[in-house]
């Protein structure tokens, strides 16, 4: 029996559609059937665009029949986190407050995906207002396909769950302090936080002005590179985007990394604040061996200030998040999930001196990281110190130490949020926990706008390992 169409990678699907080997309508129908099968359990979608997607697929097939020029993503489905505007379609940020908001215009990211021929298959669940707590969505908890009740990674919960469970070929997430990389790691996917300024945020209901980035999650590094290629680049509607020319990412993925210099971040592996799960430790040691076997130079380096990356990035995001719509917490506090409400109140009341020190710390961290990256192409580190944990519906902290522990744990992904450089998470192993086989992720990061180096390294690792080929149970 042949595999159903939704099990092809995005790159394979785009190729098959463009060649006329399969129709976009068949492909989209296969994904819609998978959504019908899996979404009632996983709750990854807030809105499924069933009729619109089939209509768009029909148009895509007509374009092929009439020899029209095709985009790189022609006829393949992509799902969008529900804080990204889609014209005429509700964009809720998984909140009651935004539940009736229907944008008039597509976000630039959505427009570029459509221009590349992609078919928007639905809007994805997330944590309320992209806060980092997996239980806050007004539309219910999203489950991890690798283990029901396990955190799919925040805040792009639906992006991780839907992509891993073959309900979409790829997805668009938003990463403030790790919200693409966390779901990628917990759901066994590739997901990249692009450089700040590479991808337009026009039409994003933002969380944190100086930290937010939009980027793709996919089942392979190549899929992620293909989607990023389609959405990256200057946008006059977003003055924070860079005017730099976007290079061809796929040409960087040669599989040959024998000239690469790779730094392993000591603080996140053996440092006094690192508390790695044994499976995560094993996976990073295994990754070092793999990179060495591929001919790369691999050295352990130290950036002591990386220990403070969680404090810096979380303090900044706490404050910036509430600055976007300060009226909501004052006028509609009852409409927030309690955990989101207390986080918003915290952000409102953090003293200016604390925010200022966090910004100084961020700059210090950036300088330290850039100094390392003058001698190395990439830095590698775990995406998270443990696999997906059990989701806890109980609100709040119990002690100040617990609050500080949340800041400490944020350092793994907060580091490159603070640095503003690209960071990808790719599957690098599994942990046996609570009867589940849970993925763990490896993070590869580099200088701002050096996504080519990140993809080159990640692709070579992926080709040399088989972690990305394992599928969640019952999918």
């Amino acid at each position: 029996m042949t595999n159903p169409l939704h099990r092809h990678t995005l790159t394979e699907s785009a190729h098959l559609v463009a060649q006329g080997a399969i129709s976009s309508t068949e492909l989209i129908q296969s994904y819609l059937d998978q959504i019908s099968r899996m979404n009632p359990t996983l709750n990854a979608f807030i809105t499924v665009l069933r009729d619109q997607a089939l209509q768009d697929a029909k148009s895509a097939d007509e374009a092929i029949k009439n020899n029209k020029p095709l985009g790189s993503l022609h006829g393949v489905p992509i799902a969008i986190k529900d804080q990204v505007h889609t014209a005429g379609i509700a964009t809720t940020s998984a909140s009651k407050i935004r539940s009736t908001f229907v944008p008039k215009k597509d976000a630039t990211v959505v427009e570029r995906l459509k221009n590349a021929g992609a078919i928007i298959i639905g809007k994805l669940n997330m944590t309320e207002f992209a806060m980092g707590d997996p239980v806050t969505s007004h539309y219910g908890i999203t489950h991890n396909p690798w283990g029901l009740g396990r955190d799919p990674g925040t805040s792009s919960t639906g992006a991780g769950s839907a992509t891993a469970a073959f309900m979409t070929a790829a997805s668009i997430g938003e990463d403030t302090g790790g919200s693409i990389r966390g779901p990628a790691a917990h759901c066994g996917l590739a997901g990249i936080r692009p450089s700040w300024g590479l991808v337009s945020r026009f039409g994003l209901d933002g969380a944190s002005w100086s930290l937010d980035t939009l980027g793709p999650l996919g089942r392979t590094v190549e899929d992620v590179a293909q989607v990023l290629q389609a959405i990256a680049g200057y946008d006059p509607l977003d003055p924070t985007t860079s005017t730099q020319i976007v290079p061809d990412y796929t040409s960087a993925m040669t599989g040959n990394i024998s000239e690469m210099r790779i730094a392993v971040l000591h603080e996140f592996v053996d440092g006094p604040r690192a508390k790695l799960h044994p499976a995560v430790r094993h996976s990073i040691e295994d990754a070092i061996r793999t990179f060495k076997s591929l001919g790369a130079v691999v050295d352990t380096i130290s950036i002591p200030n990386a220990n403070h990356a969680g404090t810096a990035s979380r303090t900044i995001s706490f404050v910036e998040r509430v600055s976007i719509h300060p009226e909501w917490i004052r006028e509609r506090p009852q409409d927030f999930h309690p955990n989101t409400r207390t986080a918003f109140l915290t952000g409102e009341l953090i003293p200016a001196q604390a925010y200022y020190k966090a910004q100084k710390m961020r700059d210090l961290i950036r300088s330290d990281v850039f100094a390392v990256l003058r001698n190395y192409d990439v830095i590698i580190m775990p995406t998270d110190e443990s696999p997906a944990g059990i989701m806890n519906p109980e609100p709040g902290f119990k002690t100040v130490e617990a609050a500080k522990e949340g800041l400490r744990k944020s350092m793994y992904r907060g580091l490159f949020s603070a640095v503003s450089g690209p960071a990808i998470s790719i599957p690098s192993g599994f942990a046996q926990e609570g009867g589940f086989n849970l993925p763990v992720g490896l993070q590869i990061a580099s200088m701002p706008f050096r996504e080519d180096l990140v993809f080159k390294c990640a692709h070579a690792f992926e080709q040399a390992t088989k972690w990305h080929q394992q599928d969640p149970p019952n999918c």
Binding site: L345, P351, M361, D363, L364, F397, S420
Partner: protein, 60 residues
């Protein structure tokens, strides 16, 4: 470290109404941030001013 009384005074000044059931969580959250900020390397921070987040790249 802020006390509940400090917190409510700050909230009043910011036109925020904190529900009784939220006070402890907000207090713990803010005090967690303040303690973590105090652990930052003050001597190094004194030598730096925050720069634009758009700085960086291969020629930086």
């Amino acid at each position: 470290m802020l006390t509940s009384k400090d917190l409510l005074s700050l909230a009043k000044a910011a036109s925020l109404d904190i529900r009784p059931e939220d006070i402890e969580d907000v207090l713990l959250g803010i005090n967690g941030v303040l303690e973590a900020i105090e652990e930052l390397p003050t001597d190094q921070l004194a030598m730096i001013e925050p720069l634009s987040t758009t700085k960086g790249g291969k020629n930086d």
